[in-house]
């Protein structure tokens, strides 16, 4: 049992790394020896041979270890579920996987227990309650005796796997070690092989970002599908009313009125508010960028640019505040008293304007960099033909900088679409479709917050609809980015 306690994934990784370091040194020494004092006779420099041994010793073993850690639960957990009584497995109010979380925490605690304590667990866990509690197990959740038994099964399965894991991982490391040291020779192309391995690692690194994207979709997709099994797809996509009835849902969600899940008011609110925000941010941001890049003195620029960028660092809740207590009342006052219109503090206009102010730096700072990056020779060409500065900006610089400016605007737009705090405070939470910017409205993000912040059960159609909204938001921004990239590429071809 003592030896098994040592066999944990981090310990194994350390051992493998230590072996790899030893391999690195031996590889280097062998390569130097193989050169017989003439370094130029080696195909690859000793460092490459050393790296070659290091990679062969460490990499396969560590990859297998990582895979093992990820895959082990898929083997172990079913064994635990076998112990669960039928009633628990079939309950829909309290899913079995929540119980499994408790079981797993007990199994984890068992690893640190003495054999006597382990025995006591199955006999009657009350005796070691305090020990479990100290190990971080939510003792109150242990409701029936099947849990300790399942924990026992999981613990034992894990223990039985440990020697196999150790053997496989260490075996691989040793095989790689021996093999790679054996092939060190004068003509071995260690450099090329190391390059290949490095390239492989770079590819893996860059695919992590892509995998994360898929991971996000994956995490949302199942619950989204569950949602669409309750609410028909077309009702969601084309429904004009968003009013999920929170009381009427039964276990299967059949009694829920699916017409309450109309998505259109939410996307309408989102697009409307973002549109107003861009209406504010794009002209102001672009003009200030042009001023900074072309007209301002270097001194003014060096002060004003950082100040403008500070706007981007202000937490959005502060903007929300500003909207709620300053802009909203001021606008309401203006529209009601001066123009005689009916207006409240919370409105699309308030949220849009404040959001616009928030995203000004995104437009201005990027556009400024992009305009500044247009080669001086183009400015000279235009000025040399007798154009004014303004003509040069309008006819030469802006078209040349357009792809970059488009990218800046789209970045700002996706910020606006994803923005939550300002809308919560400034636009209200009324899902409705109206062209009147003085009305309250809500957006996708705010609705998601409202759906999930209530401590409801995550399997209700109301909660599930949040996943559907999330994935829709994801798709909308994805389409926008892809579209932006295509525009950028089109212009780039034209201008290069």
């Amino acid at each position: 049992m003592q030896a098994l306690d040592f066999v944990t994934a981090p310990n194994l990784a350390l051992v493998v790394l230590a072996l790899a370091v030893i391999g690195y040194i031996i590889g280097r020494v062998r390569a130097v020896a193989a050169s017989k004092g003439d370094p130029s006779s080696l195909h690859s420099r000793p460092g490459y041979h050393a790296a070659f041994v290091f990679i062969w010793t460490g990499l396969p073993a560590l990859v297998v270890l990582a895979a093992w850690v990820v895959l082990q639960p898929f083997y172990v957990e079913p064994k635990g579920y076998e112990v669960f009584p039928k009633s628990v497995m079939e309950s829909t109010t309290q899913p079995a996987d929540l119980k499994m979380d408790v079981v797993k925490s007990i199994a984890k605690a068992l690893e640190d227990f003495s054999p006597e304590q382990r025995e006591k667990l199955v006999l009657g866990f009350r005796d070691i309650e305090s020990a479990l509690d100290r190990a971080g197990v939510a003792v109150a959740e242990i409701d029936q005796s099947y849990m300790p038994r399942a924990a026992q099964v999981i613990f034992e399965t894990r223990q039985s796997l440990k020697p196999i894991m150790a053997a496989v991982v260490l075996g691989l490391a040793v095989i790689g070690f021996i093999f790679s040291i054996a092939v060190v020779s004068r003509r071995m192309r260690a450099r090329n092989r190391v390059e290949t391995a490095v390239r492989g690692m770079l590819i893996i690194a860059s695919s992590i970002a892509i995998l994360t994207t898929f991971g996000i979709v994956f995490a949302l997709i199942f619950d989204t599908i569950r949602f669409f099994s309750v609410v028909p797809f077309q009702d969601f996509l084309f429904g004009l009313t968003w009013d999920p009835t929170f009381q009427g849902a039964d276990e299967e969600g059949h009694s829920v009125d699916s017409r309450g899940f109309g998505f259109v008011p939410l996307i309408f609110g989102t697009v409307y508010i973002s549109f107003i925000a861009l209406l504010v941010a794009v002209p102001i941001g672009l003009f200030s960028a042009i001023y900074m890049a072309e007209f301002a003195t270097p001194r003014f620029r060096s002060i004003a640019k950082p100040v403008l960028e500070v706007l981007a660092g202000v937490p959005t809740i502060v903007y929300g505040f500003f909207a709620l207590v300053t802009v909203g009342p001021a606008l309401a006052e203006f529209f009601t008293n001066t123009l005689g219109l009916e207006a409240q503090g919370r409105s699309v206009l308030t949220a849009g304007i404040v959001m616009g102010i928030m995203i000004i730096p995104f437009v201005s700072s990027l556009s400024d960099d992009i305009i500044t990056a247009v080669p001086q020779s183009l400015r000279d060409a235009s000025l040399g033909l007798g154009a004014t500065k303004a003509e040069t900006v309008r006819i030469v610089l802006l078209p040349a900088a357009l792809p970059g400016i488009m990218a800046a605007v789209l970045l700002a737009a996706s910020r606006a679409i994803g923005e939550t705090m300002i809308v919560v405070l400034a636009a209200g939470a009324t899902a409705q479709i109206t062209a009147n910017p003085l009305e309250a409205m809500t957006t996708i993000t705010v609705t998601i917050v409202n759906l999930l912040k209530a401590d409801t059960d995550f399997t209700s159609p109301q909660a599930l609809s949040a996943y559907a909204l999330g994935i829709t938001l994801f798709v909308v921004t994805l389409v926008m980015n892809v579209y932006a990239l295509r525009i950028v590429r089109k212009y780039r071809e034209q201008y290069e």
């Binding site: 270097p298 080669p375 020779s377 183009l378 400015r379 000279d380 060409a381 235009s382 000025l383 040399g384 033909l385 007798g386 154009a387 004014t388 003509e391 006819i395 030469v396 078209p399 040349a400 034209q494 201008y495 290069e496």
Partner: protein, 272 residues
């Protein structure tokens, strides 16, 4: 060895009244500073009307810098400062009342490095006429464009692809496009900074023909590193060295019987 500044000044001293007819531009005691560095030292020179003036001299001697003074392109460089007096048709171009934008429409420039706009060939040439409103309709503009491209010896090459980007042309074609763009505005003075540096002999001789033709109506200043070219196209030649105007005289005199030893050395290839 004689004192450099006095001889230079003596050599460059104008023979007649600078404001008399025939003098398009006159420069007196011009100094140009880049920050603390003095790149042009006390240069006085006359650019005659309907004449080609060549600036020659070793790399870095200030030819481009001085050329850029003549249409105030140096204004666009923050650290650059110009002192002295430069006149166009008798009016000081550095006077407060002068709008550098209008000046540059009268004194056009072809830059050392080709710098076409990332626009179509047509739009490149049409740029000047459009901003100055030189044409009344599309037919007029088409005509100017065809004429400019013909004179720059590239009409036949590009007439079928006027809407392709100017930046997609070869280096030499880009250079001719920039020449076409500059003459489309019909400036009174055309400043050309090594306009043939990337051209093959045929295009070069076309450009030289163009320069000769333009001389009928305009005055032209050309910077060149080719002695033969200077000898072929120019009537006046100015030799610059280390920011000084060493010698300025008739081209025939400079190339056959220069009065300065340094000019002789440079022309015969002994330095620079």
């Amino acid at each position: 060895m004689t004192d450099m500044t006095t001889t230079a000044a003596a050599a460059a001293a104008p023979a007649t009244d600078p404001n008399a007819v025939g003098y398009k531009m006159t420069a007196r005691n011009v100094d140009v500073y880049y920050g603390e560095t003095r790149a042009i030292k006390d240069v006085s020179i006359d650019i005659l009307d309907r004449t080609v003036t060549a600036f020659i001299g070793p790399s870095g001697c200030g030819k481009s810098t001085f050329l850029r003074c003549l249409n105030r392109m140096n204004d666009t460089i923050d650290i650059c400062r110009v002192t002295g007096e430069i006149k166009l048709d008798g009016g000081d171009i550095y006077d407060r009342s002068v709008d550098p934008v209008q000046l540059r429409a009268r004194v056009g420039m072809v830059f050392q490095k080709p710098n076409p706009f990332p626009k179509s060939i047509y739009d490149n040439v049409a740029y000047g006429p459009r901003i100055h409103g030189l044409t009344r309709n599309k037919a007029d503009l088409d005509e100017i464009i065809e004429m400019s491209l013909r004179r720059a010896a590239m009409w036949d090459e590009v007439k079928d692809r006027l809407d392709e980007p100017g930046t997609g042309l070869s280096g030499g074609q880009q250079q001719r496009l920039c020449i076409a763009r500059a003459i489309a505005t019909s400036p009174e003075v055309l400043l050309m900074d090594e306009p043939a540096s990337a051209l093959d002999p045929i295009a070069t001789s076309k450009i030289e023909e163009l320069i000769d033709e333009l001389r009928q109506n305009f005055s032209i200043v050309i910077v060149t590193h080719s002695m033969q070219q200077a000898a072929r196209v120019s009537q006046k030649t100015a030799f610059f060295h280390l920011g000084n105007l060493v010698e300025f005289d008739d081209t025939s005199k400079i190339f056959t019987n220069p009065s300065e030893e340094r000019t002789q050395d440079y022309i015969s290839g002994r330095f620079g």
